[in-house]
């Protein structure tokens, strides 16, 4: 898989070691991540697959620093720097991007204002206006987004597909070192899935980032080809393999990875 990374791009490494985390619930504290280990290099696509409720999204949010999730142990190193010691915006500036399953609405803040602010913060300086306008319009065209989109409020009133395209647009503009995609395929019809996937592939070709692709289904893997497939169940990785593992999961489901007596359908 090492040949995926080209020599023109810098090499980066995201290492997750023994990560444990949980949340406070009404019934008390609940441990969700029970020792997660994973290493991703520039250019690699790692598909994380697993049953509902296994902690996949928790992993994504914990890596990005959502305050709801409390880390109990382990470390997450981006080129040796411990992300867990950083605030969410510092992690973003260090090069970590999370495409969310449910992008949040921010009324009254235009997409264009939001995008330019974000790019300025992540890159450390404001892009020149001309270059910015050009880049924005090119990327929006690529994602088949209406130019009027830029004037709308962040995610407000967006359809499911529009929200996901907006996430990919941000991924493209912010040029992260690592991208986590949290069920980006959920709620997309076939056409939208293709457009979004093409967008991700393009961003990856240009920016050579590493991808952690969290999904429940194999459908998106027909468009975004994984180098590795991991099975995540009950808060940790239980199996790893190549792309062929995805096909096997499509056939057999996740039941075999669940604790005794719990079936996938019962959990959902």
């Amino acid at each position: 898989m090492a040949e995926v990374a080209t020599n023109v791009s810098e090499q980066h490494t995201l290492e997750i070691r023994g990560l444990r985390a949980g949340v406070q619930t009404k019934e008390g504290r609940k441990e969700i991540l029970k020792g997660v280990d994973l290493t991703i290099h520039t250019g690699e696509v790692h598909a994380i697959m697993g049953p509902n409720g296994s902690g996949k999204s928790t992993l994504a949010y914990t890596l990005a620093g959502h305050p709801k999730y409390e880390v109990d142990g382990g470390e997450v190193l981006l080129d040796g720097q411990d992300l867990l010691k950083m605030k969410p915006y510092e992690r973003a500036r260090a090069g970590l991007f999370l495409a969310m399953q449910y992008p949040v609405e921010v009324p009254g803040v235009s997409m264009t204002n939001f995008l330019r602010t974000a790019v300025t913060e992540v890159q450390g300086s404001a892009p020149s206006l001309r270059q910015w306008v050009e880049e924005l319009s090119t990327e929006m065209k690529r994602l088949r987004m209406d130019p009027k989109f830029a004037q709308r409020s962040v995610n407000e009133g967006f359809s499911g597909g529009e929200k996901k395209r907006a996430e990919v647009l941000q991924m493209e503009l912010l040029k992260p070192k690592f991208t986590i995609m949290d069920e980006t395929d959920s709620g997309l019809d076939v056409d939208a899935l293709r457009i979004v996937s093409e967008g991700v592939n393009h961003a990856k070709d240009v920016n050579h980032f590493g991808v952690m692709l969290i999904t429940h289904y194999t459908r998106i893997l027909r468009y975004i080809h994984p180098d590795f497939v991991h099975v995540f169940a009950d808060g940790h990785f239980v199996r790893a393999g190549g792309p062929e593992l995805a096909d096997e999961l499509e056939e057999s489901g996740y039941d075999q990875y669940l604790p005794e007596g719990v079936s996938e359908s019962a959990q959902a």
Binding site: H66, Y89, T117, A118, E121
Partner: protein, 508 residues
Amino acid sequence: MAENKQALTADKPANERESADVEMGQYVFDRTRANDDKIEADEKILAEFGNGYNYGWHDSDAAGQAAKKGIDENVVREISADKHEPEWMLDLRLKGFQAFLEKPMPQWGVDLSGFDAQDFKYYVKPMDHQAKSWSDLPPDIKNTYDRLGIPEAEKQRLVAGVAAQYESEVIYNSIREELASQGVIFCDTDTAVQKYPDLVKKYFNTVVRYNDNKFAALNTAAWSGGSFVYVPKGVHVTIPLQAYFRINTENMGQFERTLIIADEGSYVHYVEGCTAPLYSTDSLHAAVVEIIVEPHARVRYTTVQNWSNNVYNLVTQRAYVKEGGTMEWVDGNIGSKASMKYPACILAGEYAKASTLSLSFAGSGQYQDTGAKMIHLAPHTSSTIVSKSISKGGGRSSYRGLVKIPKGAFDAHSSVSCDALLVDEFSRSDTYPHVDVREDEVTMSHEATVSKVSQDQLFYLQQRGIEEREAMGMIVRGFVEPISRELPMEYALELNRLVELQMEASVG
């Protein structure tokens, strides 16, 4: 409660009553007699309670220091005599004072239990004559206006006219010559009583009666300053007229009285800003604004109120809108300790239109009870209320509104939308909408939302590299955007800046 006050006044010892009789000349003071110790003490208050408020300084204060507190009939007569008013105005003041005594304190809205009308100074005259130019002002007053950026705005021709009220008096008033030559009048209301008695007598006390409510009654008794605007038929004043209200002394009661008459087919935009120093005790701002919108005229009245957090802001604003006329209130309430303010429109003629856009910000220790009233008295009238409030740091904001459509006002349209934003877990927002519709053939809509700045919103923006404080600022600016986009550019920036200052005070 009012009865008690009256009793107190009557029971005053004779020597105190005598002191109330001292000539008004005593209120004009040598401003060099500044009290340095007092300024120093106030700097400390500023440092302690300032909390991001940028307008909390005050000037040397001889006039205010010497002014006495409290109101009784003599004070009312003195104010009138000092202004050499005609008999009818004195009579009206006295009727207002009587109504003030008789009206009960409101038992709803903000907490007025600590309010005592005798705590305030009713007439502080900082200068003997209105200044002809900014440079005629005493240096520290001029300095205050410089810091507020008012002369600069005039110089840059961002405004078509300026009125600056300091304590009880309008100390500077100007209007562009080309407007004056078209017959536009823009002066302080005291001057108008002298120079345009017919116009004033015709309209004064017609939209807000002397006995409308307790504080309008108090204003009628003690009013001083405020703006008088008359726009002749068909004249469009395309650049705003600006008024700036400044309280300087401690325990000041500012009672400006504004009267705007837009004659047929005319247009005017009047903008007012307000600030005051921070003191440990309270001041009072009880203004009355009366607006007459003649047929097919349009008036926009914009307020960016940023009183310090020791000012009671109890204001009555009302417009009477005739056939085909349009009235627009844009009301930003950022400051004050407690505000009660419900800009109202009486849609008296067919096809009259009105809107109120209001924004209030209730920070720590603040209670903003604001809203709007729309009274539809004619067919085909329409009104829109958009109210937004932000509460943080334990502040409380309420929307209180009235839409009234009596029988006969058919084809009336009304829409009300209230959005409240809570920035933290312990602030409060309430909505008190009152709708009274007696006509079948109307359309009426009301929607209200309360939202919280969510952890998820903050996280989302932070995940895109934006710091928490800036993320919070973006969310709040976004919430305010529907109001700020209606303001002239420089006021929109000012509003955003004020909101940001308030937000910083909460984070820091």
